[in-house]
């Protein structure tokens, strides 16, 4: 089920094994860091098949796709966005944040796909999807998890401009 472009973390595997042994109510978590272009619709289709395979029927589903902006923070055209991470810690944090949000909202399943490396304007950076029993928990969990990973998962963005100059971003865009 795993995309060749996305690396599934060992932490995720362990957590899923634990979740599976904890019974049907443990949320199904699927967390990947992707070094190659992230194609959200393909990933969502794979996720749907995974849910079907696990016998999960979710009446409500919420998704968020974040893409690279065309302009840098200073308004000049952006040529590419670089995303650095802390190998090991980033995967563990994503897993922990996804699990906490899913449990807090009673979500059935959570998908997080996050890019690392160099991205062109318009490319997908992040995909978050939440399956739940009702729209409220699905939407709230999706929004809360997105905010959590923006602030508490170790990623750093660097904007590259046409003249070859670049800047590391010192924070997130407003909500």
């Amino acid at each position: 089920m795993s995309s060749p472009s996305c690396r599934r973390s060992v932490v995720a595997e362990v957590s899923q094994a634990l979740a599976a042994s904890a019974g049907d109510r443990a949320p199904l978590l699927r967390i990947d860091l992707c070094a190659q272009p992230l194609l959200p619709w393909q990933q969502l289709q794979r996720w749907q098949l995974l849910l079907l395979d696990r016998g999960l029927i979710a009446p409500a589903e919420s998704q968020f796709i974040g893409r690279v902006r065309p302009l840098a923070g200073d308004g000049s055209p952006l040529t590419r966005l670089e995303l650095e991470h802390y190998p090991g810690m980033t995967e563990r944090q994503l897993q922990s944040l996804a699990h906490a949000a899913a449990v807090r909202h009673g979500a059935l399943a959570v998908l997080v796909q996050h890019r690392v490396g160099h991205l062109a304007p318009g490319e997908a950076i992040v995909l978050v999807a939440v399956a739940a029993d009702r729209r409220g928990p699905a939407q709230r969990c999706c929004q809360e998890l997105l905010e959590a990973l923006k602030h508490d998962a170790p990623f750093w963005k660097r904007e590259w401009r046409q003249d070859g100059s670049s800047d590391w971003l010192a924070g997130n865009t407003p909500l």
């Binding site: 990973l149 508490d152 924070g171 997130n172």
Partner: protein, 87 residues
């Protein structure tokens, strides 16, 4: 960026990322510890004379967020993390 070889005796592994790594000119190094020495991240930040304001930095010990005043032990991995911007 070359990593210095790990010393034989008790030591910490130090990591820097993104803007902090580039400003400091190194991303990873080892810090030997004397016997019974348990420095905190705050003390190491000062000893290393790292650039920037510690107020804007978060620390991770063994890849988990931690307080600036947690005593470190031999074998720990300490990372200084500049402001995060993900998603």
């Amino acid at each position: 960026m070359a990593v210095d070889p790990a010393p034989l005796g008790p030591h910490l592994r130090l990591r820097l990322f993104a803007s902090l790594r580039e400003a400091a000119g190194w991303g990873e190094r080892h810090w030997p510890l004397a016997a019974a020495e348990a420095p905190t991240p705050r003390q190491l930040w000062q000893a290393l004379a790292l650039p920037g304001e510690l107020l804007t930095i978060r620390v991770a010990i063994n890849q988990q967020f931690a307080s600036l005043d947690t005593p470190l032990q031999a074998g720990d991995e300490l990372a200084f993390l500049p402001p995060i911007s993900g998603g």
